[in-house]
């Protein structure tokens, strides 16, 4: 059994240290070691986007990143999106537009949408749909999600 590796990284703005086995995904580390349960395990193979996090400014599937790969890097999860003063505009607009039903995919969609708006503050509907192609939702039919993201961009 390979030894656990000591990793230092910035998680949602806080310096964080943890031990992990090389075989553990970042998703496993977040949920099982750090107790951050927002990122979800859907497909565990890069198709559904439920585990999305932002790694050094780049949107990734945390199921396809090894925990050991984030040494010295910065990770934003759904838990780091809201400010202490209130919800992020995306979160507020997802509520207003009822852009969720079961909610399992929602953290992934909000993190992905945050990465989109960070890169492109005024996306077209087509740009939103293309950007969110790597996120699956089986409840909403996507329309309300797309409207929520466009509305958040406007606000």
């Amino acid at each position: 059994m390979p030894n656990k590796v000591h990793i230092s990284a910035t998680i949602n703005g806080e310096e964080t240290e943890f031990l992990c086995e090389p075989r553990q995904s970042l998703l496993e580390v977040l949920r099982e070691t750090l107790g951050l349960m927002g990122a979800k395990e859907g497909c565990n193979n890069g198709n559904c986007g439920a585990c999305n996090v932002i790694l050094d400014g780049v949107l990734v599937n945390s199921c396809l990143v090894l925990g050991v790969e984030i040494q010295g890097k910065s990770v934003t999860t759904i838990e780091g999106i809201a400010s202490p003063h209130g919800l992020h505009a995306l979160q507020q607009k997802f509520i207003e537009h009822a852009a969720l039903q079961c909610g399992f995919c929602t953290p992934g969609f909000i993190v992905a949408s945050k990465a989109l708006l960070d890169n492109n503050p005024d996306p077209s509907e087509q740009e939103v749909r293309t950007w969110l192609a790597g996120n699956l939702c089986r409840c909403t039919g996507y329309d309300r999600i797309v409207k929520a993201v466009l509305d958040a961009a406007d606000s």
Partner: protein, 293 residues
């Protein structure tokens, strides 16, 4: 997931000696979008995972008068966002930007898409029609291999134990060159090609005749295919729809597709002709020409 050791070397020599010492037990990790899934599902095994993302040489895109050099660990996003690549090699971007959604694009590398050797890999027909070359290094020295010879079976490439793909080189486009890649999928994004086809052409200065052409196919055989006869047929021929259709028919003849959950063999055969015709027309347009009816 199975246990393994992880190491992230700083240079290529270190990787090469590690791969040699592990005698086939080490796997190279770049974006991990294939490897991590395969290790998790037990489709590949590894005692050692060697992360090559921190090696500057393997992360470089070099554009000069000789052409384009893509380090093996360069992400799909980095290539597609490069303004020189967009302008000079739009046919490459056609294939590479189709690999996964945003999350996959930012992690997956073109070198990895090639090494994974999927018959349906979108980058490979596009690389083949650009005459791309694999540059391989190992303890025995360096060697090169045309991309069309790199995949030898589904999931299996021509690298020997201890060898590493260092970079892919693409020659500078000649005068009157154009290329294009298209795939068929039943949805708009995030799917695996039912069929993929790439074409490139060089036209004469009058834009009346083909000087040469290359056609490559994906997802219709155990490996991506170069349709040599179909390409050779067009050399010296007039740029007419009849000749384009004949080349598409010849490409169709070498396709040996299977029926699986993505499509039937019959449908795939049909798609080969459609996609080859469309990519030839697009390649001709990008070369500054137009076919005669």
């Amino acid at each position: 997931m199975q246990s393994f050791d992880y190491i992230a070397p700083k240079n290529v020599d270190e990787v090469v000696s590690l791969l040699a010492s592990q005698n086939g037990n080490a796997r190279v990790l770049s974006g991990g979008t294939d490897l991590i899934v395969q290790l998790r599902e037990g489709r590949r095994t590894a005692g050692f995972v060697v992360d090559v993302k921190n090696i500057t040489d393997l992360k470089q895109i070099i554009n000069d008068e000789n052409g384009l050099r893509i380090g093996a660990a360069v992400s799909c996003h980095a290539i597609c966002a490069d303004p020189i690549v967009q302008t000079r090699y739009p046919g490459l971007v056609d294939g590479i930007h189709l690999i996964g959604g945003v999350q996959i694009q930012s992690r997956a590398s073109v070198g990895g898409n090639l090494c994974n050797a999927s018959p349906a890999a979108d980058s490979i027909p596009a690389l083949i029609v650009h005459n791309a070359i694999c540059h391989i290094t190992g303890q025995g020295g360096e060697r090169t291999l045309p991309v069309e010879e790199f995949c030898i079976a589904p999931g299996k490439n021509a690298l020997q134990a201890g060898e590493l793909l260092k970079f892919i080189s693409v020659p500078a486009p000649q005068k009157n060159f154009g290329a294009s890649y298209l795939r068929f999928i039943p949805r708009n994004e995030m799917d695996i090609a039912v069929v993929g086809a790439g074409s490139s052409v060089i036209l004469d200065d009058d834009k009346k005749h083909f000087v040469s052409a290359r056609i490559a196919l994906g997802a219709v055989a155990p490996t991506p295919l170069l349709a040599s006869d179909a390409g050779a047929f067009l050399s010296g021929k007039a740029i007419t729809l009849a000749n384009i259709k004949e080349a598409a028919r010849m490409a169709q003849a070498i396709a040996k597709p299977i029926t699986d959950l993505r499509g039937t063999a019959e449908h795939r055969k049909h798609l080969v002709a459609v996609l080859v015709e469309r990519t030839l027309v697009k390649a001709i347009e990008r070369a500054g020409g137009k076919y005669a009816e």
